[in-house]
Symmetry: C3
């Protein structure tokens, strides 16, 4: 429970900073930067909770999220000059958020006794939907539909989590290792420009 | 109940194939094709269920939908060469989904004792919203806002359903006939390029 | 309660007309005009209710909203020639809706005992999200992200409401004065082209 909460906080901070960086890249005003950071951080979890029926959504009842995101935005604005290579920092924070939220999404699915496939879907949704909204609001092509492996990293991480969980391995080890798997797949995919095989070759 | 379920399955398959065809037209990777097919098939019903408060949404608790959509996508990919005239097939499958989901949407509204106007709105939403999301994600102008009659077909079908239902006609006959009405209106509208009257002529 | 309901009706009419005007500017067909008007009028409140878990959403159980919006659209279409200066009328109706829905959103948050910050967020969402959907569907840059102060007006109005409410001032006075504050901030911001301070100057 506490590990789960800490992971959720880490993912929230990572995605909030990632959102703030994209918004500052677009030269948005402070309010716009905050909104994009907020939506990036809580968008995936909010969609998940609404589809499950878990309302009011978590950030309405636990005010911690608002303070976390506000602080993250403040720090991102303050250190924006040191973050000259915005693209690289953005990419790393996005990968961390992706890894952490894959785990929280899977865990919520398992605890609610959904079918493993649905738990994987919830993980993917939690991890990637915030970034999709961020990209739509910033008028970029959604990250999900770019060539590199993105949601696929969540799917593999979520499957790994479910398998390790069934093997009764210590939960902390499961959490940390599957988070690292997602981040590693994402980093490797981008570094080596990996993408899913296509089937249009013969056309 | 069983007829209702069969109709829902038919609509899901039709919309999943329609979504897969659009995504393949856009040369998306396998994951993208699956996501677009999934969103097209369940998007309208999911929005409806969330607005009603009918959660967790159906495809989370009944895993059949995931398998149906996966199979439909697999078949669509396999037979994509035989579906050379993608546009025509796409249009037909879309019309079938439109007809079937108009009925399921209306029925849910009636069973939940909503005002007939709300039942018609639920029908239109169930039938057309999946296609709207599909078009937004594929960066096309949403089908709802194109010139030909689309949502209007749902509205007429839904009204016919409500009238026939009040006349206590056998439910199977009501289902089949109103589904056919929607498909027929849609086919005729596109064939003769019918559209709603406009009021801008005097400008 | 009754004042609250009257405010909600006023906001619905104002936003429905604002939506209809935007849609007519885009030369949409009658169905498109109605849909845009509807989404503009109920979009913000619907998102708020779904996130809170207040379902079925209000316009499904209280058919008044459908009739109000239909009538507003009918009147907007009928008097479209007298509304030659569409932009100006549109702007005024939008500001009224913004003011009124800020109040209803804040009040719902307070009544549900959410943290004041969340009440302010609910107010901003209720007031501005309908306009965001309207702009996305009409393919305009969402009003929230344009330069002038928009959501900021809601935030100030909502804060004023919460303060006055805590001072136990008569509810009618609180409602009217904070609605006027939001409208005034919005009018002044646009008249004098005010915007939030930016922090990109040193780049």
């Amino acid at each position: 429970m506490t590990i789960f909460y800490i992971l959720d906080i880490l993912g929230t901070i990572a995605f909030a900073i990632s959102g703030a960086l994209v918004a500052m890249n677009k030269k948005m005003d402070p309010f716009g930067v905050f909104i994009i950071a907020f939506v990036t951080a809580v968008g995936g979890g909010t969609l998940r909770d609404v589809l499950i029926g878990n309302q009011p959504v978590i950030w309405m009842t636990d005010i911690t999220y608002v303070f976390l995101i506000s602080s993250s935005v403040f720090i991102a604005i303050l250190f924006r000059k040191k973050l000259k290579h915005l693209q690289k920092s953005l990419f790393l924070f996005d990968a961390i958020g992706l890894g952490v939220f894959t785990i929280t999404g899977t865990e919520i699915g398992i605890n609610a006794h959904f079918h493993p496939i649905i738990s994987i879907a919830l993980a993917t949704m939690t991890a990637s939907f915030g970034g999709v909204i961020r990209d739509i609001l910033c008028n970029e092509v959604p990250v999900l539909f770019r060539k590199e492996i993105y949601a696929t990293a969540c799917i593999f991480g979520s499957i790994a989590f479910i398998i390790l969980h069934h093997l009764n391995i210590d939960q902390t080890i499961v959490n940390v290792s599957t988070t690292l798997i997602v981040i590693a797949i994402r980093l490797i995919a981008v570094k080596y420009k990996l993408s899913l095989p296509t089937f249009y070759s013969e056309n």
